[in-house]
């Protein structure tokens, strides 16, 4: 049963991780995007549709990334260029994405696609215990193993990452050195949306192999919360994402084993868990926020 739970954690947490990594990049540059859920929805539908039309799930992943990035591009325009309130913009775009995907997804509900199959890694997947947990999944899960360290490396060891972090900590320094803060924020937000789109695509082309409206069911918001208590650190994002994957899988495992746990309590667990973790770790983590982001959090302008 534990094996099942851990395997489900890895499988279910992957999409949250992609979205969380994307949101980390965006927030590191000073832009919070509550529309992440919308980017995931668009990624799920975009990925599904492209896979259906091309027969190639990898193209689907690309399609999902593009779809997610388009939504966050609108967010960037509204927030970076037009000065709109970041929370309002994100949530409005979530609402819009909800409607758009429901509308355009109608014809894909009964479509079958050539989805990603699970690829057990020869040898490794036979190791008792960690074999099925880590090495018997679809390709996007394996890529995700490297995504967090990769994003960490980009953020903390490359010049691009330095630009992103400076935009979030001390944006004046960028202007002084001839870089455009707006451009850095644009690209960070777009990258965030692209990664969220991949996370969404994972759900539709690898996890469930289906599309249905509103199928992301709150994972995007969990990802945004995850970024906060992972203290904007990609490695912690990975751990946190798997933790939430476990929370989501808990219901399946307990029910299959016949345990008498109320199904609504189980459904609420991921969200309650998020709130509890935020409550416990919140103060310390909020202090670790990039300076510009702190300003957004403290005094979200409403004008």
């Amino acid at each position: 049963m534990i094996i099942d739970l851990l395997a489900g954690a890895v499988r279910g947490g992957t999409s949250i991780m992609y979205a969380g990594l994307g949101e980390t990049v965006s927030e590191r540059a000073g832009v919070i995007n509550l529309g992440t859920e919308g980017s995931m929805l668009l990624g799920a539908l975009g990925g599904y549709a492209v896979t259906a039309h091309t027969g190639n799930p990898w193209l689907g992943v690309l399609g999902g990334a593009v779809a997610g990035a388009l939504l966050s591009l609108v967010h960037a325009v509204l927030v970076v260029s037009r000065g709109a309130n970041q929370f309002a913009s994100g949530l409005t775009l979530y609402f819009l994405a909800l409607g758009v995907t429901a509308l355009f997804g109608v014809s894909y509900v009964s479509t079958q696609i050539n989805a990603f199959d699970d690829v057990p890694i020869p040898g490794l997947s036979d190791i008792p215990g960690i074999g099925p947990v880590l090495f018997d999944h679809d390709p996007l899960v394996y890529i995700a193993f490297f995504a967090a360290p990769a994003i960490w490396w980009v953020l903390f060891r490359t010049r691009v990452g330095l630009l992103v972090r400076t935009a979030g900590e001390r944006s004046e320094a960028l202007g002084v050195n001839g870089y455009s803060v707006k451009a850095v924020r644009y690209w960070s937000t777009i990258a965030g949306g692209a990664l969220a789109g991949i996370g969404g695509a994972h759900i539709s082309i690898a996890y469930a192999d289906s599309w249905f409206e509103n199928m992301i069911a709150g994972r995007g918001f969990i990802a945004v919360a995850l970024v906060i208590f992972a203290m904007w650190n990609p490695i912690r994002i990975m751990a946190g994402a798997y933790l939430f994957g476990a929370a989501l899988s808990l219901a399946s495992v307990l029910q299959t084993a016949g345990y008498a746990v109320n199904q609504f309590a189980l459904a609420a667990i991921p969200f309650v868990l998020t709130l509890i973790v935020l409550a416990v770790l919140g103060k310390r983590t909020m202090l670790a926020a990039p300076d510009e982001l702190s300003r957004v959090f403290d005094n979200s302008r409403t004008a």
């Binding site: 489900g8 509900v109 199959d117 469930a208 192999d209 249905f212 069911a217 746990v261 199904q263």
Partner: protein, 386 residues
């Protein structure tokens, strides 16, 4: 300036309040809408020109709502002179009432409310428009029903019982899986009937029932199925609105599938055993025919109409068999079906609940209304109801 602006805003608010207090006189389409019927012919639905149908989900979900859509298409074919208005994704709250009202305003005098949770809205609309026939799919009305209302459904658990026989015969591990949404009586009756059917072939069979809390959430469905399959379940069935995700996952794992709501055998070429599906066309057509003739009130449809196999008109029918079902199993199922057609019931006692209490004593058969308020799992079901 501020005072003037605020005054302007107050005027707007006052206008809104005034508008709210008196209904505007404009009304484009007066046929059959609002208030007491002034028509000379008071039989509800007589000579209907417009029929309205509302459904809770999308029309191509490979399941429940797709079946409704097929029924709508049958109506359009059988009544070429009638306009059939159909609306999908109508949630089970006052939106349903608003939508039905809007259809009535466009001249509908027969309305089908096809989702379980549309009942309250249907009752509301029926009460407001005595000249409109409102029929609800699946609910239970108080006895006696209002003159213009009725509910209709099939005894869904009958083909599910027969499918259970196929499942019990096919399973090698003795573990079956049932994925459902929320524990409404219809679902419990299905799960219990499935279990009883399987137990008739293999008494030690175990049915693990897991819930997704939603009628169509593919990600959750995928997770539940994976969990069931890895616990040794080798036949999976479901009570969900959309059936594709679970069937595909089951097929990919090489296990057997029992379908529900629609014939999805194309999704599971190897593992499909059988299933149950809707054939609403004949029933919808007959209801409309009865209403048009002015004969709705007092007819069999002006009540809780349930068509079971004994009546020969059960709109829920068994799906075709898959390649792996043996002739012996088919014979067993045919024999069981004959018993049901002769008036038998899967729930003829003794029926024991999970906790050991005897819910139906030996030899007795509970009436339809009791079955539709079922609130327990039978012995052999793994899972809890809280």
């Amino acid at each position: 300036m501020r005072i003037r602006r605020s005054a302007g805003a107050l005027i707007v608010a006052a206008v809104v309040a005034v508008l709210a207090a008196c209904s505007p006189a404009v009304s484009n389409d007066d046929t059959g809408s609002t208030s007491a019927a002034t028509s000379t012919d008071s039989a509800p639905g007589k000579d209907a020109k417009v029929v309205g149908v509302i459904a809770v989900g999308p029309k191509d979900d490979f399941g429940y709502n797709q079946a409704v859509y097929q029924g709508v298409e049958a109506l359009r074919k059988n009544f070429p002179d009638i306009k059939v208005l159909d609306a999908y994704n109508i949630p089970e709250d006052d939106t349903a009432a608003t939508t039905m009202e809007s259809m009535v305003a466009q001249g509908a005098t027969i309305i089908f409310a096809t989702s379980y949770g549309h009942l309250d809205a249907a009752k509301q609309v029926a009460a407001a428009h005595p000249d409109v026939v409102v029929v609800h799919q699946g609910g239970l009305l108080d006895d006696p029903a209002p003159a213009n209302m009725g509910s209709y459904f099939g005894s869904v658990y009958e083909p599910v019982y027969l499918a259970g026989i196929a499942a019990g015969a096919a399973t090698k591990t003795g573990k079956l899986g049932y994925v459902y949404a929320i524990p409404i009586p219809q679902t419990l009756a299905n799960i219990n009937a499935f279990t009883l059917g399987a137990q008739s072939v293999r008494p030690d069979v175990e049915v693990t029932a897991v819930s997704t809390t939603a009628w169509c959430d593919p990600a959750t469905q995928a997770d539940r199925v994976k969990s069931l399959l890895s616990s040794g379940v080798d036949v999976v069935t479901q009570h969900q609105d959309c059936t594709k995700t679970i069937i595909e996952a089951t097929e990919a794992a090489g296990a057997y599938t029992v379908g529900y709501h629609a014939d999805a055998s194309s999704l599971a070429p190897k593992g499909w055993l059988t299933g149950s599906e809707w054939n609403w066309g004949p029933l919808y057509t007959d209801i409309v025919k009865t209403a048009i003739a002015g004969k709705f009130t007092g007819s069999e449809y002006n009540a809780n109409y349930r068509a079971n196999m004994a009546s020969g008109k059960n709109p829920f029918v068994s799906s075709k068999f898959g390649p792996s079902v043996t002739d012996d199993t088919k014979a067993l199922i045919a024999a069981a079906a004959k018993k049901l057609e002769d008036g038998g019931s899967p729930f003829t006692g003794p029926i024991t609940a999970q906790d050991g209490t005897v819910k139906v004593p030996a030899g007795e058969t509970p009436p339809e209304e009791t079955v539709e308020q079922m609130d327990y799992f039978v012995k052999g079901v793994v899972g809890t109801l809280s």
